[in-house]
């Protein structure tokens, strides 16, 4: 699928303006929701099951990835009945390792691609990167958009690139990272979301985790609204993945409240909502242990992988 000018123009025209202060006020209301008792426990377990357990470091090794994969499956065996995470997220070179480690599970393997995290490579390289990851067995591809092109106003380029990567993905689901920390305004976040959705994204994702700020609630709200508007118009569901900066249970629950109240329960599964996080799982586990056992917990009792 490739763009023509009128198509891009329609996307721009349909893209609503966003008042940042108003968006922040709505977020503040989600944050006043008080999640207690059973609803808290359920929320925490949902959170675990929505995590894309991530390692994206230059120093990643097979050993590191294998250990993380074990953790993905065995979050905290001391408490029975815990779910696994949704997926692990690694560089393309580690996809095969992860895939092997997880082949007996339902846990998906996601791979970043397209010259992650900067995205400053020619399209051919990005397509090759994507195809490599898919060939290695990636179930999901997390691509980055060309923010420079976006800033230049070359929206058609951004659109076409996403569409090309979507083609290269084959059956793998495509998550499109907007790198919202580099987009200056919520208006830009919204436009980038709409471009990504129209170009074929299965998921839209806030951040690479390499840029600050990473995911924030107002940014995520803006993206959720784009998903909602698209769904209301077409009936097509798009997934959402905030990534980076979500490291506490309380914050994760607030994100879930936001998803629940903006998109509704349809999105409350890891098919449509993910957290990109590395340290969130243990905080959630500690909260679950507190809820199950009573006492407040120590990090020493929860494995770091």
């Amino acid at each position: 699928m490739s763009s023509d000018n009128s198509k891009i123009q329609n996307i721009i025209n349909d893209c609503p303006t966003i008042d940042k202060v108003g968006a922040e006020e709505r977020v503040a209301r989600f944050q006043t929701r008080s999640i207690k008792g059973e609803s808290k426990l359920m929320g925490l377990k949902m959170t675990l099951n929505m995590i894309d357990l991530t390692t994206l470091e230059g120093k990643d090794t097979q050993g590191k990835v294998k250990q993380m994969c074990y953790k993905a499956e065995h979050l905290h065996d001391a408490i029975p009945g815990l779910p696994t995470v949704a997926a692990v997220c690694v560089y393309p070179s580690m996809v095969k390792v992860a895939k092997n480690a997880l082949k007996h599970t339902d846990i998906k393997v996601a791979s970043v691609a397209t010259a992650f995290p900067g995205g400053q490579s020619p399209l051919a390289v990005k397509i090759a990167d994507t195809k490599f990851a898919v060939d290695q067995g990636a179930d999901e591809v997390d691509m980055v958009i060309s923010r420079g092109k976006f800033m230049e106003g070359s929206y058609a380029y951004v659109f076409d690139e996403i569409a090309a990567i979507k083609d290269a993905c084959g059956n793998a689901r495509l998550k499109v990272i907007l790198e919202t920390g580099e987009l200056a305004t919520l208006d830009d976040v919204r436009l980038a979301s709409d471009l990504a959705i129209h170009a074929g994204a299965d998921f839209i994702k806030t951040s690479t985790g390499k840029i600050q700020p990473a995911a924030t609630m107002p940014v995520t709200l803006t993206m959720l609204m784009a998903i909602k508007d698209h769904y209301d118009k077409t009936g097509i569901m798009i997934g959402m993945k905030p990534a980076g900066g979500i490291s506490t249970s309380k914050l994760a629950l607030h994100y879930l409240v936001m998803v629940n109240e903006v998109l509704g329960e349809k999105w409350l599964s890891n098919e449509w909502f993910r957290f990109g996080a590395s340290s969130l799982a243990n905080d959630v586990l500690m909260q679950i242990a507190k809820a199950v056992n009573g006492p407040y917990q120590s990090a020493d009792y929860f494995s770091i992988d």
């Binding site: 108003g22 006020e25 207690k36 929320g43 329960e265």
Partner: protein, 488 residues
């Protein structure tokens, strides 16, 4: 083009009750009148009961002041004015008011819970809006006490004397703060009457005033019904009357003060327009509509109760609005997750239901949130009416409940004309991305407060008050001082 994908069902996730604790709340069985720094029994010996509108449970008995009690309170205020307060230096006055602000902050949660119990408003609002704003109002005006000469250039500023103040039930503590803080800062003494359905936080405030060491008689709180208020208004030794409430009662007060030298300020009803243009930040506008009409169950004089939507986006806005209403939680106001609490009283619920029936009879199309309401208590689901005309009664009269009327418009001039086409003029909302249009509208709308790309915001430093039949005088900010001073 992507095909419609397979929908899966996620998890149904509803929130467990998250009740604010009430164990730490101390209410007396019986409240007397706070006159001259003491708790005194009403001369008639009569008390009335105040109930929790959320479950109709009994909260406390409260003294019913008659004219004799009011006279006692006015005398105490007069003596305190003559002998103490007018001789207290402005900077000392300031310190008393600061102290009250701090004591209120320390007991903020207690105030919030009592406000929720007595008024039916959600704990989220009393905790996050009413109580902090009330504290901040005292804090703001405290600082004015010794700076009044800067507020009125070229004039000597003096207090009026005894201020009689009558407040409504929709923001009981906040309205008490709006009345008392500027009166004290400008050097007046006060006789205040809270509304009969919501007297408790004003009486709690009296406890704090007692604790603060404010000289006896500077603030007197008398509880009762309309006749108690009338006794304050008509008392010959009152120099100033400040009233917040219905336009009907406001007019009566204005008439009864005709020809006297009593200074009067009135903060009355409204039927404020909330105007959505096609280029507005629609999702934030939806929040503004929700906040405009459902904040405090719609018991807000400046509620954005008349929604005007540009025709090109009318369907979209109505759909999104209905959708958003679906995530509102109606129920026990003490639950921290409740968005819409109880209607303040049985009488008010009857009034609201009367208007809803009128709306239906007028042929307007009604949409109500389908929700389970508690068995006991007074509740009304959030309601909106489409297919409403300017001439519909529900689009003209103040309903003071969670009921929104929706009209469409085509042009800027048309909507200005329709928005101003009302005897009221309290507030208005304007939603558009175009700056020059905002200023065009804010200039032409006949309303004392205009919220552009926001709604229902309040601040101690921001003057509040209406045009036309919404009353006169301002509360808040520098302009709020005028109501309590004479200039020479």
């Amino acid at each position: 083009m992507a095909k419609k994908n397979k929908e899966t069902t996620g998890l149904k996730w509803s929130y467990d009750p998250a009740l604010e604790g009430v164990d730490h709340i101390k209410l007396r069985e019986k409240y007397d009148l706070f006159i001259n720094g003491k708790w005194v029994k009403p001369s008639s010996g009569k008390y009335f009961k105040t109930f929790n509108p959320a479950d109709e449970s009994f909260l406390a008995e409260v003294a019913n002041a008659d004219a004799k009690d009011v006279d006692k309170a006015v005398k105490a205020a007069r003596e305190a004015y003559d002998n103490v307060w007018s001789k207290t230096s402005p900077s000392e006055r300031a310190k008393y008011i600061y102290r009250i602000a701090r004591l209120m902050q320390e007991r903020a949660r207690e105030f919030a819970v009592i406000e929720t119990l007595d008024a039916g408003k959600t704990i989220r609002e009393s905790r996050d809006v009413d109580v902090p704003l009330a504290c901040n109002h005292f804090f703001y005006y405290a600082g004015w006490a010794d700076k009044l000469d800067y507020a009125f250039p070229n004039r000597k500023v003096s207090p009026l004397g005894v201020a009689g103040q009558i407040i409504p039930w929709n923001f009981p503590l906040l309205m008490a703060a709006w009345k008392i803080a500027p009166a004290l800062a400008t050097g007046n003494t006060v006789v205040l009457k809270p509304a009969e359905t919501t007297p408790l936080t004003a009486l709690k405030l009296a406890e704090i005033i007692e604790e603060s060491g404010l000289p006896a008689g500077v603030v007197n709180i008398v509880t009762g019904y309309g006749d108690t208020g009338a006794a304050i208004v008509n008392h010959t030794d009152v120099n100033k009357v400040a009233f917040t409430g219905s336009t009907g009662v406001g007019k009566m007060i204005q008439k009864s003060l005709a020809g006297t030298n009593k200074k009067l300020t009135l903060e009355l009803g409204g039927k404020s327009a909330n105007i959505i243009f096609e280029d507005a930040p629609i999702d934030q506008a939806i929040e503004g509509i929700i906040n405009g009409i459902f904040f405090n169950q719609g018991h807000v004089c400046c509620a954005g109760s008349r929604l005007f939507v540009q025709e090109s986006v009318a369907d979209l806005v109505v759909r999104k609005l209905k959708d958003r209403m679906g995530s509102l939680i109606v129920g026990n106001p003490l639950d921290k997750n409740t968005d819409i609490g109880a209607i303040n009283s049985k009488e008010q619920l009857a009034t609201i239901l009367k208007y809803i029936n009128i709306g239906k009879e007028e042929g307007a199309e009604m949409f109500q949130l389908a929700c389970d309401l508690p068995d006991k208590g007074y509740y009304c689901p959030p309601t909106l009416f489409t297919n409403v005309a300017q001439s519909s009664i529900i689009a003209q009269e103040e309903i003071f409940g969670p009921v929104l009327t929706i009209q469409t418009f085509r042009t800027v001039d048309e909507v200005i004309q329709k928005a101003n086409n009302s005897p009221f003029g309290l507030a208005a909302g304007v939603w558009t991305d175009k700056g020059s249009r905002i200023f065009n509208l804010t200039t032409k709308l006949k309303a004392g407060v205009v919220w552009a790309n926001t709604y229902n915001k309040f601040d101690p430093s921001s003057p509040f008050g209406g045009y036309k039949e919404s009353g006169f005088g301002r509360e808040g900010g520098l302009h709020g001082l005028s109501a309590y001073v004479k200039l020479s």
